[in-house]
Symmetry: D2
Subunit: 236 residues, 4 copies
């Protein structure tokens, strides 16, 4: 299973943030549910749990695991930092960078991408508007994720509320980077939101509260994955 | 085994930083060696590994585990942050705060102490000079650790190079906080450094490269623990 | 006119923040009104305008001027930073530090206090609760200012809403630092708020929107200054 | 005199950093020397002094003035911050952003560019490598400045040591942004460094210690400006 951008297969990446519904033992259980849904529907899924939960999920569940952030420092005397080496040793296959709740300096995005690539970790750089996402794509990450911050956690899906953000990002990014995988996110709660975004050009999704805080996360994931499959069929 | 400040029993807390010698599988093995040395010499030891390694060590080794840092945010939409809840769920019993390689805002030190206490996590606030350590002790952490940054990682022990930093800190801190446990660190590489610091009033140690990067960490820890026991006997 | 803490004369320090009512030419005019009110009522007043406005006010008005923040770096290759040397060269006599809108690391508070003292600049360290203010007073600034962040800008005065914050701070601070001048702030909009705070033990005030955004700032300042004089008379 | 990117006329922008040779009164005198050299040689020059010195230079010298940084906040309750409004009120015509000594978050670069444009302030976004500079140019600033951090302040000129950084940046940037003005910097101390960089495709310069800390800054500026004129003649 590869997650490189050349791969056009849609990806659904669930960000656990620091939600109590997705911490410790609950993180493990949630990751297992997400993995099972992906397996059943044959849709590519991945999770981004908190640092302390990466190893138990990578080791015990089998679902691909991403970090939520990585610091742009090498191994050494850096108390309290999270290195790419540490993520990799814990079993992560990649990491988010520059999420709107954890924005970082341009120079650090670039350094973290270079370090991650050296170690074989995938990078997903998040940004909040068309220009910033296009700029992020120039730094040569494996994926970018566009999420208008004002829609995150609202249940008002980017694909319905701001479809032009997706279409413009795709246009701007493709002009400068033909291979980066383009995810989108913010407010996505139904399969229809997913289907619409795929039609607009999105190649994957970064979702969070829509799954993590749902009364029945497995149900929502199934809805998302089936919408993905519905869309894939239209391409054949 | 309690680690509260009223407890006069010396503590040796080993900070793994992000050293490659103390990441992933190597973190687990090192933690086990440190735990065994503590058990054999009956000296209280603890480790502060990277976030990703806390759970495997807390679960698999049995040694008390501290985080290297904690963010002062509650559970919720805080991608990339480390909550006290997450540390606790992973099995940590406490956390470092404000290490010179991970300094934080005064307001965040205070918030993190309050949050940690609510969850039953111990706090060790680090500072680099007498005034800052005394100030830190006013924020009511369980422990403070004074480490002159210019000596960290040098092998030139604070107890030899700047004994007055220890004696003055103890004096200033005790005038305003009778119970906080006072650790010291920076440059400590031999049992003699430990013995001298205990005579000067230190009640425990925050060590890092002196153990982690030593050719034989178990050997160094044994040296440290035996020095601690030698000092304890002089008190009886 | 000295502003040292031994001086028991109350001080009213007006923080201009980045309000448009207190930027550029308007900053100059406001500073002049505040200075005139102080002169007329013989109450000590000072202003803390934005960096770009310090020199014109220090040179052209005559009112004592404070910076709103200073970085803890020496002169040199530090693009975008504000040094104590720069504040002094512009005519400032001191600076705020660690305002709740510009919180800084414990280590940087300490460094900035030391640097400022070397240059003869006064320091006012802000903090938001009793413990943090007491901790700040251990770092040996000239003044501390306690401002519960939840009351800043609300018009609900700390002296009415949370009088115990003032009395407890005074008690805690005086136990460890007999000379630091104790300011308070947050929500202060009337002379009565001022009078009450002085009775509770405050020795001065850090005010902002209550003056800057008032329809008639000179009027409010006169109210504040007269309340100060009313209180001073009760001491004779 | 316009500084827009369409304008191919080379610009020499002198960053005063927080050098003591360029603080307060000395900042004023240095700015005057730089302005006179520019006037005599008919080369476009500008200065980026510390915040506290902007107004005196903008008002008293006549040379175009840039800030060294601007915060991405609106006017309001933001103690200690520097707004675009404040820079403009002080007389600045633009600002540096993301200098390697004052790096900022990708999201803040974007916000600061948008805010500055609304107020008519020019933006110069600095970056340290080809990819980051190309990314910065996607955010639609007026100028970008590429400065390899390892050469800053060394006297080893980017145009001699890393000519490919300039040529590759120009190529990458022009592919995505036809109008942004491309400055370069780091280690530039002689007119020959300037001449070479112009031949490589640079359209202007961000210089600092090479001028500010020179025994005779006017002499160095004359050398720089004459090299610029020499190059311009080759184009006619």
């Amino acid at each position: 299973m590869t997650y490189h951008s050349q791969n056009q297969e849609p990806l659904i990446l669930v960000n656990f943030k620091t939600y109590s519904e997705a911490t410790g033992k609950k993180a493990f259980d949630l990751a297992r549910k997400i993995f099972e849904t992906g397996t059943q529907t044959r849709v590519k899924v991945a999770v981004a749990p908190q640092f302390c939960d990466i190893m138990q999920i990578a080791t015990g569940v089998g679902v691909p695991v991403f970090g939520q952030h990585v610091d742009s420092v090498d191994p050494g005397a850096y108390t309290g930092h999270v290195t790419a080496e540490s993520l990799k040793a814990a079993g992560a296959i990649g990491t988010l960078l520059n999420h709107s709740e954890c924005t970082i300096r341009l120079a650090d995005i670039r350094k973290a991408i270079v370090r991650s690539r050296e170690l074989g970790l995938l990078t997903v750089v998040c940004a909040g508007d068309v220009e910033s996402t296009a700029a992020a794509s120039m730094l040569m990450p494996d994926m970018v994720a566009i999420e208008p911050p004002e829609l995150i956690g609202t249940g008002r899906a980017v694909s319905r509320e701001k479809p032009e953000v997706i279409t413009n990002s795709v246009k701007r990014i493709r002009a400068v980077n033909p291979t980066v995988k383009i995810l989108c996110g913010a407010g996505i709660t139904t399969g229809d939101d997913i289907y619409t975004a795929l039609k607009l050009g999105a190649e994957g999704f970064l979702v969070a509260s829509g799954v993590v805080r749902a009364p029945d996360p497995a149900n929502v994931m199934t809805d998302f994955c089936e919408a993905t499959n519905r869309f894939s069929k239209t391409l054949q």
